[in-house]
């Protein structure tokens, strides 16, 4: 029997300058169900939520909610709340300096004075009935993050919400707290609240949801019952690959690394952005981190390079213990890192191609020993030629180059420092196929010359072509390592999804 529908969104479109965030997306929420909204980062989950909560206004499409005959338009979070749509955001949007009860009632109701006793009594009742372990008079900041999240939910429930949106509610909670949150969610479901659950933790979706809607690149992939969608198929849908009929790409290079020396080794390495992990790479090896966007692969390599604050772990380079907590230390050890976000972390847009190329070497030499113009020119020309960078001259500002050529400039910057170990995070994103192949070839050539390379790409085929070992990550943990015959697209996806489920 079809349950009563509480919310329908039809044909939702939303564009931002130069990007279409949502195109023609449908979404249906029924009473008393937990509906997971899934997709990789950038798939449009957040945009859809923000359209629904009035943070963004939709370009096209209609939203209908139970109890109101006409399509509604939501222009502000306040309006959304009036329609019974409540949101609990990933970051806790409460005031930690106020009490629990105040946080549940502030900004609501009328009258000039605060009736503390009445407010605290009501808050206490609600907290008790939902089984939330917080006391009304407690200062919110003294509660754990999980409890704070639950107080936010209690507030939402108290506003008589029909639709409760939980945007990544579990990302800062530990397992026990997640359990508490889930039992609260099931409790609310019994009360007939429709819950939209946005998360990138696959297992949690299967633990608590009834239905899944998958988005990809701002488009609707489909809506599925949880029972009918095995985890590995969900991953395939999120990534946009089909499981059947995938051509297995054989590696032309036979890799036997049993006798290779270990170049870099890390034990329990962790940073402010990544959980502890072990990792090693051999001399002349190309390996890669793979996983869904947001699974922690970039964060892991950033920890290796010291790009985020390193919080623990032991690192060995050529068998010797070294300390790498800052990029400059990594560079001195011969590690180069090509960041994922070219514009933000990589290029200095207004400097010339030449200055961008010599930047890393200059940093290592020290700014008080500048290169002569002729020397810089020679370096720049050498790599412009070697990498076939298409630029008018070495004086051209880098921002006027195409994306692929910018990428080559940054690559040149690191090659100039003659690193032993090069980390490339999404080096081929947003560049044309020809340049992509060039970069892949270059990676393999560098490896043959003895350089170790860690490669990250969203395109599995590319990873399979270049890497001899793939480290698979899910939910910020390393969940598998694939080598040799296991290096197939199917295997990668199954590992990402967490076994044959």
């Amino acid at each position: 029997m079809e349950k009563e529908v509480v919310l329908t969104m039809r044909g939702i479109c939303k564009s931002f300058p130069n990007v279409k965030a949502l195109s023609n997306v449908d979404f249906t929420l029924r009473k008393g169900e937990i509906h997971a909204l899934m997709g990789e980062n950038g798939a449009g989950k957040s945009t859809l939520i923000k359209v629904l909560t009035g943070v963004y206004t939709k370009d096209e499409g209609e939203i209908r909610i139970d109890g109101i005959r006409d399509a509604i338009s939501i222009r502000s979070p306040q309006e959304a709340q009036n329609y019974g749509i409540s949101t609990v955001y990933q970051e806790i949007t409460l005031c930690s300096n106020l009490t629990v009860a105040e946080n549940m009632y502030i900004g609501r109701g009328t009258g000039a004075t605060v009736k503390w006793r009445e407010m605290e009594k009501q808050a206490g009742k609600l907290l008790d009935s939902l089984g939330i372990p917080a006391r009304p008079k407690q200062q919110l900041g003294s509660c754990s993050l999980a409890v704070q999240q639950m107080v936010a939910i209690a507030r939402a429930v108290d506003t008589d919400c029909k639709v409760l949106i939980l945007d990544e509610p579990t990302s800062s909670l530990d397992d026990k707290e997640v359990g508490m949150l889930f039992s609260l969610m099931r409790d609310l479901k019994e009360r007939g609240v429709g819950i939209i659950f946005v998360t990138h933790f696959l297992e949690q979706v299967y633990e608590v949801s009834d239905r899944i809607t998958v988005l990809r690149n701002g488009e609707l992939v489909g809506e599925y019952e949880v029972e009918n969608l095995p985890q590995v198929e969900l991953v395939a849908k999120m990534m946009g690959k089909e499981l059947e009929g995938l051509a297995v790409i054989k590696k032309d290079r036979q890799t036997d690394r049993s006798d290779a020396e270990v170049l870099y080794e890390a034990q329990d390495l962790s940073s402010t952005q990544s959980r502890p992990f072990d990792f090693h790479i051999d001399k002349g090896e190309v390996n890669g981190f793979t996983g869904l966007l947001g699974s922690g692969r970039s964060e892991s390599v950033r920890a290796i390079f010291g790009a985020d604050r390193v919080t623990g772990g032991k690192v060995k380079m050529n068998g010797k213990s070294v300390k790498i907590t800052k990029p400059i230390q990594a560079m001195k050890q011969g590690i180069g890192y090509l960041p994922e976000n070219r514009r933000q972390d990589g290029i200095i847009a207004d400097l010339s191609v030449r200055d961008n190329i010599i930047l890393a070497l200059q940093v290592m030499k020290g700014f008080f020993h500048p290169f002569s113009k002729a020397q810089a020119e020679a370096f720049a020309d050498e790599y412009i030629k070697a990498l076939d960078i298409k630029t008018a001259s070495s004086d051209t500002p880098i921002k006027s180059l195409s994306g692929g050529n910018q990428q080559k400039v940054i690559l040149a910057r690191w090659l100039l420092t003659h690193p032993q170990y090069l980390i490339l995070d999404e080096p081929t994103r947003g560049i044309d196929v020809g340049t992509k192949t060039e970069i892949q070839k270059l990676v393999l050539k560098l490896a043959e010359e003895g350089m170790s390379v860690t490669f990250i790409s969203s395109e599995i085929e590319e990873m399979l072509r270049t890497c001899s070992r793939l480290i698979v990550m899910r939910d910020r943990k390393i969940v598998g390592e694939l080598t040799g015959d296991d290096l197939t697209q199917d295997h990668v996806m199954i590992t990402i999804a967490g076994g044959e489920k």
């Binding site: 980062n41 950038g42 798939a43 989950k45 957040s46 979070p77 306040q78 709340q81 955001y89 990933q90 970051e91 806790i92 949007t93 409460l94 005031c95 930690s96 300096n97 106020l98 009490t99 105040e102 946080n103 502030i106 900004g107 609501r108 009258g111 000039a112 004075t113 605060v114 503390w116 206490g124 006391r135 008079k137 407690q138 200062q139 900041g141 003294s142 993050l145 507030r155 990544e168 990302s171 800062s172 962790s270 940073s271 402010t272 952005q273 990544s274 959980r275 947001g294 922690g296 970039s298 964060e299 985020d308 604050r309 919080t311 910020r476």
Partner: protein, 365 residues
């Protein structure tokens, strides 16, 4: 209901520390230096001299709780003082009194009304610019500070004095029964306070009730605690910030009136740097510059603590004025250190949640 003792809130904790320190300091002063400290009048004189400071410290407490700052209050106080004195001595707005045919005493009423209007005007303009046009409060109120000081000189280059007959009314003493001390001749002189102190104490109580019992007061705390969250919780953040500054201006206007009643003279250097003292006493009283935490009772004791220390410095023979500045600086430093140590001991140091737990917000889509 479950009966459980709630852990004390940050606001209450910091306030209790200040009160404790004040009591200990004053007791020590009584034991070590004796003399003046043993006479109740010493305490009352601290109040008499600093009634205006208590009021502008309340201004600062309100805006600091809201996460903002107002450094124009000292100038507003001085401007109001100058205007008030000139109204009293008949050089300004004399026409109103003449038209009404009212006695000279009526000038005090005019001065009070004008004081409130000047305060509200400063508060409204600054509040509008800060809350609705979202300009940095520090810059706006710095402009207010210079503007106010400049206005004083425009109104009168020369110092002005209020007529003695009116000052007698303004400075009328309220005797405190039973709290007197004998003078050298053995005649009992009753301890006294001035009207200004009563005004200041009433304002402290009113502001305390506002902050505790009224929705607006709680919104101050919410906005100061986390402006983004307050917005999401449905608090009208802009209006709240506007009202905080409006209130701050109003209090500064009243502080000017109280200052005028105490000194009876208008001068371009009146109440110089008193805004800095007000900030210092608010902080000593447990208000956090980062917002969301604070209490006017604490601020009141902050003023007492600071003046007690200054009195101790003077009593112990360090009469040069710089010693007072140096001790004020040292005190402020000590209290800020104390606050951050106390708050981080309560697990608010900000480092106790491992970074990776906070999820990669900045790398999200």
């Amino acid at each position: 209901m479950r009966k459980r003792k709630e852990p004390i809130s940050d606001t209450m904790l910091l306030m209790s520390i200040t009160i404790g320190i004040f009591v200990v300091l004053y007791a020590l002063a009584m034991i070590i230096w004796g003399g003046g400290f043993l006479k109740p009048q010493m305490l009352f004189d601290m109040l008499n001299d600093n009634a205006f400071l208590i009021i502008i410290a309340c201004s600062l407490t309100i805006v600091m709780i809201t996460g903002s700052i107002d450094i124009s209050v000292g100038s507003v106080t001085a401007l109001v003082t100058m205007v008030g004195v000139m109204i009293l001595n008949g050089s300004m707005l004399n026409g109103i009194q003449t038209a009404l045919g009212a006695p000279d005493e009526f000038r005090i009423v005019i001065a009070a009304v004008v004081a409130i209007l000047i305060g509200l005007a400063f508060g409204a303009v600054q509040g509008y610019l800060i809350a609705y046009l979202e300009i940095q409060p520090f810059i706006i109120t710095l402009a207010g500070l210079f503007f106010g000081r400049g206005m004083i000189t425009i109104i009168s280059v020369d110092p002005q004095k209020a007529p003695q007959n009116l000052m007698d009314i303004c400075q009328s003493r309220i005797d405190m029964p039973l709290l007197g001390s004998p003078n050298k001749k053995g005649v009992m002189i009753p301890a006294h306070i001035e009207i200004g102190v009563i005004i200041a104490l009433v304002l402290v109580v009113l502001v305390f009730i506002l902050l505790r019992k009224f929705r607006l007061g709680r919104n101050f705390y919410a906005v100061g605690g986390n402006m983004q969250s307050a917005l999401m919780l449905g608090v009208n953040v802009k209006r709240t910030r506007f009202l905080a500054h409006l209130l701050s201006g109003l209090l500064a206007g009243i502080a000017g009136l109280v200052f005028m009643m105490h000194v009876g003279a208008g001068n371009a250097t009146n109440a110089t740097a008193s805004e800095m003292n007000a900030i210092a006493t608010s902080i000593i009283g447990g208000t956090l510059l980062t917002g969301g935490v604070g209490n006017v009772i604490g601020t009141f004791f902050g003023v007492l603590t600071l003046t007690t220390i200054k009195a101790i410095v003077v009593t112990s023979g360090l009469r040069d004025p710089w010693w007072q500045s140096i001790t004020t600086g040292a005190m402020l430093c000590f209290f800020i250190l104390l606050q951050s140590v106390v708050l981080s001991r309560r697990g608010r140091g900000g480092l106790h949640v491992p970074g990776w737990l906070k999820s990669s917000g900045r790398r999200k889509e």
